[in-house]
Symmetry: C2
Subunit: 370 residues, 2 copies
């Protein structure tokens, strides 16, 4: 590509591929009778959020209070903040709770009690489950702690907190490197939740379980015991998801166009304007080579991206510099002043860093929050 209007590292977005990803996931949720509450942290854009409404989305998930405020300001009335409740932001949480249906993660009694004291408007509450990622939440096997928290949340004196159910982000699915491995993670998550459901029995009436990782939501075929899904990355996907097996490279909806600023024929390397502040330092190691992205070409009517060749990859990043190691054939195709398109390893971080999108084809620019 050689769009003369692109002068700096620019995040390209293929709207039709992005919409196909949205439609596919929304349909899957519908087929499995799951509420679809997509996570907005990947795109962080009011406009892209609007596209999700076209596929029936009414409730969304975000990862911070400020992101919730942004989307509430853009007409979303049912928002889950899928992050352990930050007690230092109770003032903003209160404002939100007065205006929309807000769901928080509360993982302990002390957080619950503080919220009960400080909130002026009721919120709904998920208890976060650590189903194997080891990051945050209670382990489903911690039945006593969970029951004690549920008892507190369902007590009639806990007027500001209404228990809704459980939330889990099985982030350990990101360690999977095949469809089979993701399914094994997914099955273990379902098993843990099933055992917890058995422990709780029917004493607390109906409650909801929501899970939220793109690998399990993309590849899973069984959602027994699950009521809602909140994946985020699926709208764009990326090389990591393709490597995991959540998608094919042709499903990736974003790539970064970078100016070529220098070239080194003796080592088949291009220097590009595109560094750690554009891509992030998220890397992927494949066949012993660690890279930060791969060069892409487009093909077909949909202008889907594909990896130009496996020997051409973003080998090195400093703040603003990127070094692309090329195969000899690919190297010869580029001159200083050209653009090279790079598929990101992790589209969430890359999109956050670049802050806006340029639509493939129309060149229309779409802004992000913040």
């Amino acid at each position: 590509m050689n769009d003369s209007l692109i002068t700096q590292p620019t995040l390209l977005l293929n709207e039709s591929i992005c919409r196909a990803n949205m439609q596919r996931m929304a349909q899957k949720a519908h087929q499995h009778n799951l509420q679809f509450k997509p996570h907005m942290k990947t795109h962080q854009s009011a406009e892209i959020g609007e596209w999700l409404r076209d596929y029936g989305t009414e409730a969304i998930t975000v990862s911070s209070v400020s992101m919730a405020s942004y989307f509430a300001g853009h007409g979303w009335h049912d928002i889950t903040i899928a992050f352990p409740c930050n007690l230092r932001e109770t003032e903003s949480i209160n404002t939100l709770a007065g205006n929309i249906s807000l769901t928080l993660l509360v993982n302990g009694l002390s957080t619950g009690r503080t919220l009960q004291k400080r909130l002026a408007h009721p919120v709904e509450v998920y208890i976060e489950l650590d189903t194997g990622s080891g990051r945050t939440g209670l382990r489903p096997s911690e039945v006593t702690a969970i029951i004690s928290l549920v008892d507190y949340l369902t007590d009639e004196e806990t007027t500001m907190l209404q228990w809704k159910g459980f939330y889990s982000h099985p982030g350990h699915s990101y360690n999977a490197r095949s469809n089979k491995e993701v399914r094994s993670v997914h099955q273990s998550v379902l098993n843990k939740i099933s055992r917890l459901r058995n422990e709780l029995g029917s004493a607390y009436g109906a409650y909801e379980v929501c899970i939220g990782d793109t690998p399990c939501c993309s590849t899973g075929t069984d959602f027994s015991g699950i009521d809602a899904i909140s994946p985020g990355n699926f709208v764009f996907y990326d090389l990591m998801q393709a490597r995991i097996g959540s998608c094919t490279v042709s499903d990736i909806a974003t790539a970064v166009a970078c100016p070529v600023v220098d070239w080194y024929a003796d080592r088949n390397q291009l220097a590009i304007y595109g560094g750690a502040i554009h891509f992030s330092k998220e890397s992927l190691t494949e066949n012993g080579t660690t890279h930060f992205g791969q060069a892409a070409v487009t093909k077909g009517k949909e202008q889907a991206w594909s990896v130009s060749d496996p020997e051409t990859y973003l080998a090195r990043l400093s703040q603003e510099h990127g070094i692309v190691q090329c195969s000899p054939q690919t190297f010869e195709q580029f001159s200083i002043g050209d653009l090279i398109t790079i598929l990101p390893v992790h589209s969430c971080l890359t999109a956050h860093l670049l802050g806006r999108f340029q639509l493939v084809g129309s060149g229309v620019r779409i802004e992000q929050f913040g």
Copy 2:
């Protein structure tokens, strides 16, 4: 610390330590008869740039055309863009060149010829030397290519480009893990430049050599053959620089205050609001442990930071989550809702991501460019 106004990850800046770092480097430049052209990419802030004027700074270095435009708009009249010239931005370069004394890096004849054709206002030009980092620039041993480029730049028909000398960022000093190793890198850089000076002889009259990495500029005691320095990171330093030997931890001028949002007594871990979008995924491996930052405490009149204990570090990052692995003693000091202060591994990336500073003591907020 427990500043009730801090509700989200916040970049703290200790002005007196930052000014002491500036003064020390400016004095060193003066003592060695070097022009001091500090790199602004670390702080990217007009206000912090003003502090540098207090120590005699008149010329500055930046890493992008847009950063040059920002600082030109804040009264800087002598700016070097220390990045291989991006030919896709010649329009903005032209505007800058019409208003200030602008220096570009031109590493090849094709870039030089394109600029000569497109520019309406003359610029000064450094040829970038790759003195060992293997990133960008000509190797000093490529004497034929260098002479051919100098010939072009000094030709009287090359009216838009005025050859100024050589620029090098010996980024391989970042691989050093002791003062001795940095000095060895620095000496090899001086040797390479000295040999190139001998090759060129006096045929081209006087020209300037500028080098720009914080480790060599901080620890070097010999600057033979060097005329100017353009370090950037030294204004803040960070854990990586302390590890390299460029500074002590008490010289670090920035840290990130993060809300504690959850805690896990069985593994002595705190969950914090502070993730990859705040710290970047730059990591440091010490004694077999990889971390993204270390918890800090302040002490003394200057409120300098020190590492709270070596067993307490930022062990894991996702987009907005951080997991702090604590020693049992440190773990016990924190509750949900507290703030924990983390020293960053790489202050340039962390400052870029957080986008603004809060001054320690006064709480005054300072904005960044972009």
